[in-house]
Symmetry: C2
Subunit: 531 residues, 2 copies
Amino acid sequence: RTHQLMSWILFFFVGVVTACVAFFIDFFVKQLMKVKFDYLVKSVNECQEHGCLALSLVYFLCFNCGFVLIATSLTALAPVAAGSGIPEIKCYLNGIKLPGVTDLLTMVAKAVGVLFSVSGGMFVGKEGPMIHSGAIVGAGLTQGQSSNLSWLRTNFLRRFRNDRDKRDFVSGGAAAGVAAAFGAPIGGVLFSLEEGASFWNQSLTWKSLFCSMSSAFILNLLVSGIQLHAWGQLDATGLVNFGKFNSEGSHLWNVVDLAFFLVMGAVGGLLGALFNEMNKRLTIYRMKHVKTRGKRVAEALLVSAVGTCLVFVLAMTMGKRPPKSYLAETRTGTCRSLTAEDLNKEFVKDARGFFCGENEYNDMATLALNPQEVSIKTMFHMDGTFSEKTLFCFFLMYLVIACWTYGVSIPSGLFVPCLVTGAAYGRLVGALLRMWLGDYTATNLGTYALIGAASFLGGVVRMTISLTVILIESTDEITLGLPLMVTLMAAKFMGDLFNEGLYDIHIELKHIPLLGWEPSVVSVSGRHGGF
Amino acid sequence: RTHQLMSWILFFFVGVVTACVAFFIDFFVKQLMKVKFDYLVKSVNECQEHGCLALSLVYFLCFNCGFVLIATSLTALAPVAAGSGIPEIKCYLNGIKLPGVTDLLTMVAKAVGVLFSVSGGMFVGKEGPMIHSGAIVGAGLTQGQSSNLSWLRTNFLRRFRNDRDKRDFVSGGAAAGVAAAFGAPIGGVLFSLEEGASFWNQSLTWKSLFCSMSSAFILNLLVSGIQLHAWGQLDATGLVNFGKFNSEGSHLWNVVDLAFFLVMGAVGGLLGALFNEMNKRLTIYRMKHVKTRGKRVAEALLVSAVGTCLVFVLAMTMGKRPPKSYLAETRTGTCRSLTAEDLNKEFVKDARGFFCGENEYNDMATLALNPQEVSIKTMFHMDGTFSEKTLFCFFLMYLVIACWTYGVSIPSGLFVPCLVTGAAYGRLVGALLRMWLGDYTATNLGTYALIGAASFLGGVVRMTISLTVILIESTDEITLGLPLMVTLMAAKFMGDLFNEGLYDIHIELKHIPLLGWEPSVVSVSGRHGGF
């Protein structure tokens, strides 16, 4: 009984601490991003008058490469902190402990590192590392000792120092991480179950839900209190929040759209499989040629520099273009107008108006020179349009650079870059459909962007029910549940024809002996019953 | 590969057929209910002029007892069709086959029977039987043969005639049943997992989701097409739909409310434990004394007659009262006014205006002389009030009669009556809080009713994550997820201190050798380490 009660209390604290870690990461990312982009926007606006845009680029490069240098140095301290951490957690939950995965040092390196890699404009997300941090909290907090800090050793929690209890806490912590990152407590529990458990344990499930619920609650409280200055209102449902889909009177989708979504899902699955294949080959190359610590740091800086330049150059040339020199007057390219509906939306303050007039925006700059969450929200909810060329270039750039980035030696989540890539793809499909078919349907472009995002993410990670639930919970709109499910199913089905999910590919490449769900076919003769 | 593909197709058809069965039940229940209540309302309205209300009661009794007689006769044909079927499904999924549980005859008796028992005004729901029907569809459709119809025997599906495949289809069918009944495809899958699986099977989970999704989709299509005359709009998300909670600008709840919800959850758990204890004793009594077929039919008719009279008498005396005779003019009791907000709502046409003026309603008659779904919606969304006395009497009546009803020999679901009972309790708490504390909070009474409903249902069935998800999906409002979870946790925790969930109690009373999750304590000496 005492054991039971204690474990409930511990699950609560795991949730609370995980939420605090997630809030810490999110808070500083927002602060650093704000400083960086405020400075950049000011610089570009000044420079367009004086023709010194190169200077703005240099500022931008210094910020980004500086941040990434910090991130990659931290990772050098604790090599396990590189990557998203989800493959490692998956192994841990299935009984394979990689050295250092649940160390305190790993967590510090991961949490601080991801803060800098995200603020440094790398095409990475902070969600995977949050989940990993949650798992470490679960493993660390509940043991009352740490291998990094040997003086910190209490006997108070001795009874939980066994493999089973520790693993239970880790799965609770991972669930809490998902809950904090996406505001998806149920999705979190399912994530732990899907990735980790082979035995459905009713009481663990219930405790994990309690843990992830505590985490979502505390995070909600912190965000609405500290960032929105309204303690107790609980307005902030998770850090990745897709915002309210506009459904006043109009339908978000109808039956005919389902057919489009099915096709989009299948194509998303194909794109995901392509992404995985490219990343697999790159990782094999990387394992052969980028071995020393120095080379790894150099690669991280290279990726950062290339990404930064690409983003900046595209932003300056794809939408409205600045004058060639400060003497010339003529600017080419078109601006996009904000519609009346957009002007009421909160994210409009983030629309970049470079070289444009009032109530206008530069479409590529809005997508590229903003934090990724803002890009996603813009694609999901902007009533104004993006040109097809912009969307295509943005999609292509994200696909390539995100693929290159995953596996670089920095803490790097995979969810958000996949969502960005997919949203661009979906929005592009929506725009093309509207061009070809006219306004045959009231379905808004944002829904297409959401479906695109889901399909690409599903094609890359191949998670099933947990991803579905996570997306439904972050969309905050159950009506979109059916289209999301259809899309994810098509994406997984299509992708599975070609290869495995990216996490499984990385587990295999690391030569970790994790057994899959289905026995793999060993030989053709075996299949036909060789005995 | 063929096996895989075939099983996907079969899962699809299981979903489709389950949705059709659920739609069949729901459609005829609605039709019969409409006929019955239209007639009753007409009769009461005429009789108040002539002082012949006794005649209305006789009509009402004839309708109800007639319907219940049909239901109970059908059950006599297939005894397994009595009850909700969920304990039987739980046993089946855990490997214990009760005779006849998956027979075609059972399904017909169950589906047609529940249609009449619900229309007959018994305090039962149609959801449990829908889930059972889904499970039978899963077991029957996929075998290509039937023990009831021996001529129907194909060899086409021979390869699925083994225990494992059949059980998988049953769990898919049960999930589809939940999806159809509550519009909760994810909740359905979790229901199957929680009740049935001890092994988390990734591919079965995914197939079950596909199955329950197909079911939810087809049902949605049928309901919006046939009942709302808008094929393809997909407006109807499930048969039990709690309706949109009003959230225009105002908050549905805040942090302080959470404390109230916690206490309400705990009290709901207590009430649920009381319900279970009462029902357990009643069932033991019933097993001893109500053994013959005749006695069972008589009991069903007795319950129906008592329930009908009680409902009618309460409806005529608790709100506005009719004149004593057709000569007297004076009517006592108060009417309640519809607020401006209510007048825009769809369910207002169901508010019973007996003996009241225009834009007024008789509160007890509105609760008692309506289908249960309408009572629930009224309590959840009515902006106008119900008197505390009315709510208390309604709650008490439902608690007692629903408890008496569960176990009677008719097909009878447990979810909806529990929701009605709990909603009355919650609305009562909300009304009392508002009376004592004034308008300290903007939280509307409907939220309290929802929390009350969740707490009581949780206290009775003690399901964990699946119930949480089912309620969130039927509320269609993720923002209410956290309060619902808190409430259900408190209810389960409190209830578990006293006894088990009602389904488990019934499994035990039937002497079915189902093993629980946790080993039970055999003896005190064993616990203290007798070895």
